[in-house]
Structures are given as C-alpha cells and as structure tokens.
Symmetry: D2
Subunit: 292 residues, 4 copies
Amino acid sequence: MQESAPSDPRETAILLLSCKDTRGIVAEISHFIFTYDGNILHSDQHYDGETNTFFMRVEWDLVGFAIPRERIGAAFEPIALKFGMDWRLEFPSKRARIAILVSSFDHCLYELLIRNKSGELAAEIPLIIGNHATAEPIARYFEVPFHLYKLTKETKAEVEEQEIALLKESRIDLVVRARYMQILSPRFVSEFRNRIINIHHSFLPAFVGAKPYHQAHSRGVKIIGATSHYVTADLDQGPIIEQDVARITHRDSVEDLVVKGKNLEKLVLSRAVKLHLDHKVLVFGNKTVIFD
Amino acid sequence: MQESAPSDPRETAILLLSCKDTRGIVAEISHFIFTYDGNILHSDQHYDGETNTFFMRVEWDLVGFAIPRERIGAAFEPIALKFGMDWRLEFPSKRARIAILVSSFDHCLYELLIRNKSGELAAEIPLIIGNHATAEPIARYFEVPFHLYKLTKETKAEVEEQEIALLKESRIDLVVRARYMQILSPRFVSEFRNRIINIHHSFLPAFVGAKPYHQAHSRGVKIIGATSHYVTADLDQGPIIEQDVARITHRDSVEDLVVKGKNLEKLVLSRAVKLHLDHKVLVFGNKTVIFD
Amino acid sequence: MQESAPSDPRETAILLLSCKDTRGIVAEISHFIFTYDGNILHSDQHYDGETNTFFMRVEWDLVGFAIPRERIGAAFEPIALKFGMDWRLEFPSKRARIAILVSSFDHCLYELLIRNKSGELAAEIPLIIGNHATAEPIARYFEVPFHLYKLTKETKAEVEEQEIALLKESRIDLVVRARYMQILSPRFVSEFRNRIINIHHSFLPAFVGAKPYHQAHSRGVKIIGATSHYVTADLDQGPIIEQDVARITHRDSVEDLVVKGKNLEKLVLSRAVKLHLDHKVLVFGNKTVIFD
Amino acid sequence: MQESAPSDPRETAILLLSCKDTRGIVAEISHFIFTYDGNILHSDQHYDGETNTFFMRVEWDLVGFAIPRERIGAAFEPIALKFGMDWRLEFPSKRARIAILVSSFDHCLYELLIRNKSGELAAEIPLIIGNHATAEPIARYFEVPFHLYKLTKETKAEVEEQEIALLKESRIDLVVRARYMQILSPRFVSEFRNRIINIHHSFLPAFVGAKPYHQAHSRGVKIIGATSHYVTADLDQGPIIEQDVARITHRDSVEDLVVKGKNLEKLVLSRAVKLHLDHKVLVFGNKTVIFD
C-alpha cells in the first residue's frame, strides 16, 4: 500500500524467506512492517504441501519506514528465529554486479549488454571473462573490462583460482555463463552457490550434454527449446529458472536449428537473469519458486 | 500456512477486495485471520498506481477457524468499513451454478460439459438455454435440462424476461455464452453484472463485430485469436478475462480459420470460466485483475 | 492449377513418394499429370541432404483426368520403377476407417469423436476397443460399436490376436491409441506399420516411460508437453508427428499438470490424426516429413 | 533434385511467379528447368480460389545448368508470356543491399546488425539513415556509414528527395524501418514498392496509429503483439509479413509493455527481413504469400 506518488527507482526492501509452515507467519510479518510505518507494495507466497514448506516474497516502501536500512535485518531477526526461517533481505536500489563468462559465441553476450545498456537489467557489469579473445572488441565497445583466461586441462584448476579471486575482489554478485564452453569445477560452483546462471541449448531434461541440436535433429522432434538454470555440481541438473521453445520442421537442418536456437537462448537467458536480478527467484531443493 | 494434511475439497474461505490504497491493509486482514485461528493458504495482491487502488485475494483454511462460515462476513465488516472496501467473500466448497446459452455451434458446449464432468470445473450446470434445438441431444446425454427459447425481433424482449426469470429461480451464479448468436439486451446484462462470460472469435480489439474470421482472412493476418470477456452493454467491449492465439498461413481459407478458431475458442472460454469459478478474477473498470 | 469452381469434397488424387534424388523427377511427374489432363492443386517436396533422398507430395484434380481412378497406379508404375520410388496413391474422397483404443481416460476419445462428428476429421470410426468398460456410454452416444477386451498378462497374446482379427475384418486403416494404457506387442505393431498413432503425455524425449507428469514435477520444469507419434516396437521411440507445450509454474501440483496435460494431449493427438488422414505425413527412418 | 554434395553458398536461381491458374504450368516450368539440366532443389506453390490465381516459387541448382545466369530470364520469357505471368528471377548468391532507417530506439537496429554480422541475414548494409544522432556510435562500431537527416515539417519533402537519391545511388534493394518515427511520403513509398519493411508495435489491425502500448494497457488485453509489414501509402495497412505475440498480465505497466514489446519487435522484424531476403515473400493485393 502506498500514499505518495511513485518515484523511480523507489527505495524499497524485499524480504525473501522459506520455513516450515505454521499459523501466523503472514500476520507477524505484515504486522512488523506496519508497526514501523512500512508500505507493502507487493506480497506473494507459496505453500508446498509435499514438504510442508512456506515461501514468501514481500516488498515494501522504505519512504517513512522507521528503521534505517542497515538495521532492518537485525530488527527482523527475532521473527526469523521464531519461525526457523531461511531468509534474505534485498534492496533493489543496490545494483547487482554481474560477471559474464563467454567463449566464442557472442549472441547471448550482446543481448545481455544491450539490455543492460537500455536500462532493462539495471545491473553493473564490471567485467567479462573469456577463454577466447573473440569477445574482446564487443567488451571494449560496451566499455566493460575484458579478461582473457585461456585454459587447458593442466592449467584449469590454477586458472579457476585466479578467476575466483578476480570475481571476489570485484565483489561480483552473479556470474552468467553466456554460452561459455568450459565446465566449472565443483570448487568454483561452491563459491557462488545459486549465483551462477547457465543457458543450456535444449529443452532440459531432453538432450543433456553435448551437441543438443544434433541430438534434436537426429530424434526428429518438432519443437526445440532452451533452458536457463542455476549451476550445480551436476552438469545440466541445476534448478531451472526459465525455459522456452520454438517450432521446427523437417526442413530445418542442424545449422537451421543452431540459428533458431541462438535466438531462443538469448531470450531465455536474459529472462532468467532479469528474474534473478529482480529478486524473484527462491531456490528450493532442485527447483525454483518464481515470484513473478 | 497449514498444519494438517490437505483434504480435498478443503473447506476454505476466499476474500476478494479492492479499496483506496493506504498503510496497514495487509496487516489488518492477516491479523484478523490469525486472531481467529485461520490458516492463510494463498494470498496475492496488486496495486494500481494510476488510480491508487489496492486489490487483494486471500484464501484461508476454515478448519479450526473460530468464526462459523455464516458469520465471517459480519465479523469482517468493520475492517471493510474502515478502509472503504469493495469486497466479497466466497466459499469454494459451494459449487457455482452455471447456465449455458448456446445456438447451433456445439464445440464450446461440449468442452464445458466434458470438463465439468471430469471434475475440472467442479460446477453445477442445472440448465442449458438454446435458441435452436441443435444442442438438445447433447444436453440429454450429459443429463442437463434443455430449454428451447426461439426468439424473433418482435418477441425478444418478452422471451428474455422468461429467460431471466428461469435463471433467477434456478439460482444461477454464472451465465456462459458458448457461441450464443443472440445479443443480450442491456436489461439482461444488468441483471447479471460481471456474471456473464462471452467468447468472441477474434483477438479483440481486432475484428470486432460480425464475421471476424472473414475479416482476418481479408486483412491477411498471420495469427488469429479468441477472446473471453465479461459481457457489458457495449458489444465486444467488456473486461477481458483470457485471450489466446493460433498461427495461420496464406494457405488457410476462411473455412480453415473457422476450424482452427473453434479449437481455440473452446480452450479460451474454458480457461476464463475456470478462472471465474476459482474466484480469481476481480473486475476493475473495464479491465480484470487475474490472481492466478 | 484448375479451371472450374471448387466443389467440396473435390475428387482428387494424392501421390506421396520418396526416392534417391536425381534430375528430372518433378518434370516427369508433372508431365505425367499434364499429359492426361490433370490439374495440379498442391505440390510440395523436400530434399534430405544427409541421405540424398527426395520426397514429394502432389495432389491433382481428377475432374477431366483421362485415366480412371483404379488404373492410375498402373499407369504411374513405369515412372516409379525408373526412379526406384517408394510410393503410394491416395484418394481423399475415400474416407479412412479409424479404430480407437481406449482405457479409462476419456478426454482424447471425446475430442476425436466430436471432431469427427463436426466433419473436421472426415473419417469413419466403425469401432472403439476398450480394456475397461468406462468408455462404453460415450461410444453408444456417438453411435460407435464398443468392444470390451479385458486382458491379463496371461491372456494378452490371445486377446491381441482377437483384436487384430477384428481390426482386419473391419478393414481398419488407422489405429489411434487415445491414452490406451496397454503396450502393444511387436506382433500387433508389425500388422499396422506406420498406421498406429499414440499420444505420449510428455515432450519426448524428455520423460519417457511411466508417470511423466510426476517426473516433470519432480524435475521442476517450467513447461510441459505432449507428443504424438507412430508406434514402433521401441516404446516412445517412434517417428514424431506433432508436439506442443504448455507453460506451468511452481504452483502447479502433479494433479494440475495432469489437467493441463489432458487439455494438451487431446489437441496434439487430434492434430496428428488429422495430418495422417490428410495424407500429409511421410515416414522416413525414425522421423517424419510433414507436408502442411 | 541434386547429385553433387552441397556447397555453401550454392549457386542457385529462384523463380517467383503468379498468374491466372490453368493446366500445365508446373509441367512447363519443370520441363524448362529439366531440359537445360537444372536440378530443382525446392518447389512450392499456392492456389487462391477466390481470384483463381496460381503462385509458385521454384529454386534450382545452377551447377551444370545449360543457360548462363544473365540469359535465363530471356530464355524463360516465352513461358511467362504464354501464361501471362507476373514474375521475377532472383539469385541468392547476390547479396541484397539494405538501408536501415532509425530514430532514437536502437533495439531493432542492434538486432539487425548483429544477425547480419553473424551471417544469419547474409546481406550488405551499406548505410544507416537516422533523424537523430543517437545511433551514430552503433553504426560506427559495426562499420556502417551513418547519415544524419534531421527534418521538420517544412523541410521534409526536400530531405526525402536527398534520401531517395542516396538510396538509389547506393543501389539499395531493401529499406528497413527499424522503429523509424517518421512517416514516409507516398512519393518515397512509390519509389520502393514492396521493398520497404516496417515494424509496428502492435498486433495489427488492433491498435493502429500512435502509442499502441498505451492503447493496449488501456483496453486491458492479456496479450500484446508486433507486426512487420510492407509499407504502402496507407499507414499500418500494408501487406503483413510476420506477426508474433507475448503474454502480459494486469501487473504490467505501460513501461513493462514497452520493454516486453521491444523484445518482440526485434524478433518479428528480423524474421520478416530474413523471409524477404530469402525471396520467400510474394505480395498479392494487400496480403502476402510466404513460401517457408
């Protein structure tokens, strides 16, 4: 609820949480916000019957809110403890810092950079990491520092450590694999748990692994897909954020599938990144709850 | 939130409301439910900045709720008055009573009857009204009383009064125009405000009025659509509930469009009716808020 | 090409063929048709580069065609031999005879019967075979003889022989599995090669086998699908005719997926059957060429 | 049909034609190609019953074709005259020369330039014309000369003459309006008949004219669209090449529609341009035949 005219970007807080379900959670949270003169703008919840888990996303206006930003977490802590919540607090006015990993395909990279430049993503992109130099001119045009990390089977572990160090010292919030052709080690993945987004060029779980368009062509499917998911230690098995499909026919060669697929991949990846940046995704086991 | 294992159909209450936005609405409502030991299962809200209007749909478990069903409304009234709410209270366990209006096309009629029989709609259909006898055997097969009301320009006003009387004495909650080819008078519409659902065989507002498939064919569009909306006094102008589209090509004749369109119309109308029956639609001016 | 006004149903012939690609095939076929005063209405072709195979579908008007229907095949034979064609000749005016196999789910059965009754499929349905009695009243309403064949592991081989005998003596052209829950033996399949159409309730090759909606729910996909394919000895591996998808969210339970899936299955199966009946499908290895 | 392995880009010829329908057209054309040792790769046709018009697109391999490219037209002329054909001959190996018109929105411009750079469009883009300087850095990055033509109501006629002169001397085959915000005069349009492609940001014919996203928001539609069409003297009334849609909800503000719409517009425009460049579009009155 709100009283004043909307200003953009409005100063708001977003609370994302999950806990064992019981009575009074919504009442307690909305009472907390109301008590301190908060103005609930959006509120959404979900109940998973199989595991008796309650999920919630609530966003409120900070204009006139009685608790300063940096102390909201501490003030909320008693409620979180009472219900045993897994929770986090986000502030949309704080722009996320994204690192993009890329190989030689550039369609997803372009799409992310253009959408960010137009204000659609509203993130900061302080660096691009490539294992080929192909994307370097694109990075330069969009004025993003480009870091070339070539790697071989022998140097991979060492190079990854350098990448992790760079990502950390650059305070990266989200790593986006924009058709990056290197598998990340479990060590890398564990450093950015639920903060690495991948685009797989098939409708998962169909056609896991390599060359999905060849697999799709060989099977004779009538629709191809793309899947964006968080990266976990199990390849192509992470929680799915977004999927979409495109119709094909017997006339489409593998090359045609690649072109149609590219135009699908960049859409699906961009939507997944946008959902993540808008703090609309809660990971729950191997699935996601999308509050859109 | 809930504590006990789900029983189906669960006894729940659904509160739908809109009011001028201000602080504390969610807190007050959730406090009301919690105070009487209610268990919020779903809660969704929307804020319209243009008109500063707040919309909410909240559903809670009635098992263990301290107020008996018939007195919940009275108990909630003070809160409604305080915020100047436009509100209604629904009980999903009470099956809605639907009347279907039909002419000679039977595809939408079949779809509604089959979905209801399979339990997808979970409504009661105590009567079908036709201005042709075509649908009579279908009604008989599905064991729904069929009422034939032929009408001419001269008899229309009088016949409509008989229909309204029949609908009222049958305690009809929702009137569904399943490709019914007669325009309803403003008098009829006003008797069932926001309770008559129509299917228009085009992607409104494209191709209003008669013969939309002929219009679409003549214009050479590449996609056709269907639109389900509440009926208002202005033909084809009522609040839209659901729309969908199908791709066509230059090879499709008007007859092909009619066939493709029929298969679209029955889907779109069924989805709209289902949304209405699930109490997920709030009408707001000439638009709808769909809580799905 | 044509000179007279279209009459419906027009008397036409459809030639479907594939052969090793070489020069002059189109010229020879179109010359054959022109020589005998045939009027080409539709012509479509496809070339598969991987196997150097040529595919063609050509339909011409028989009004004024100099060769009587029953002798067209013999007249065309020399051309077929010259190019080593795999070919068949179809006459749309001859209505195909369909048998529907069904268990207890009735949504696909209803859809096929309603579309046929409305003239959309334009087939004859002389019989329905069920392994449950559930569908018997539906069959009676649509005036199609219903045959109940219950079967156990022990009686399956014997019962299938009875079914095959019935299908043959009823001169069945196409067998449609409308969510029939029994696997057909290789013997049965071989009797109706490329003439048994199945609907699988997933987006193949994702979620083969049993309980695909449970699998989809468990994997957390954002889109579900349905696949209609010809039945081969390998379960769920036959040539795909048609697929489609529907969007789902984390809110959808397995039961919701089942309902959304049912409304998808009946569409996809109906489209596949229609394509087959219109002689628009050519099977090629484990794939299909769809001339639409 | 073909004998040799495919080389890319293959040297082929494409014949596009329409004429009054009569017997023997396909036979005569395929005989013509066969006689001179041509190898038909693709052939598609369409018959419009309302106007008794026959349409055809046929593509054949020029390797081994007995007539040199520059004389094929003359050799075919007698057949064209015999049937009164409206026809053209295209050679895919000749890259089309595109001029892009742009204002300050750059999403469609980026998409076209990126798709062309990746080889998907395979055109030459010798110039971009802008009425704002916004796109100048983009043009420079993609190494395309940028021409700034500011215009006022008073100077419009004169400036357009300069633009037409530039387009002609640059031998431009296709003009693409990439969200160009100036209406072209009938004089300009007549110079490039069926060779100017526009993107309109609505599902035409819904929401013609200005601010379609505002119109869509105001009407409360559940789906928005984009339409790419050839430009004619009548604004938003030209032959439609391609359309597509995106689902929206009551939560989407006009600004959200603009963002969703932008991502739709660039797809639809790119597909339309690709269809045109592949010589798959035949304009027929106010409609198109799309041979895809």
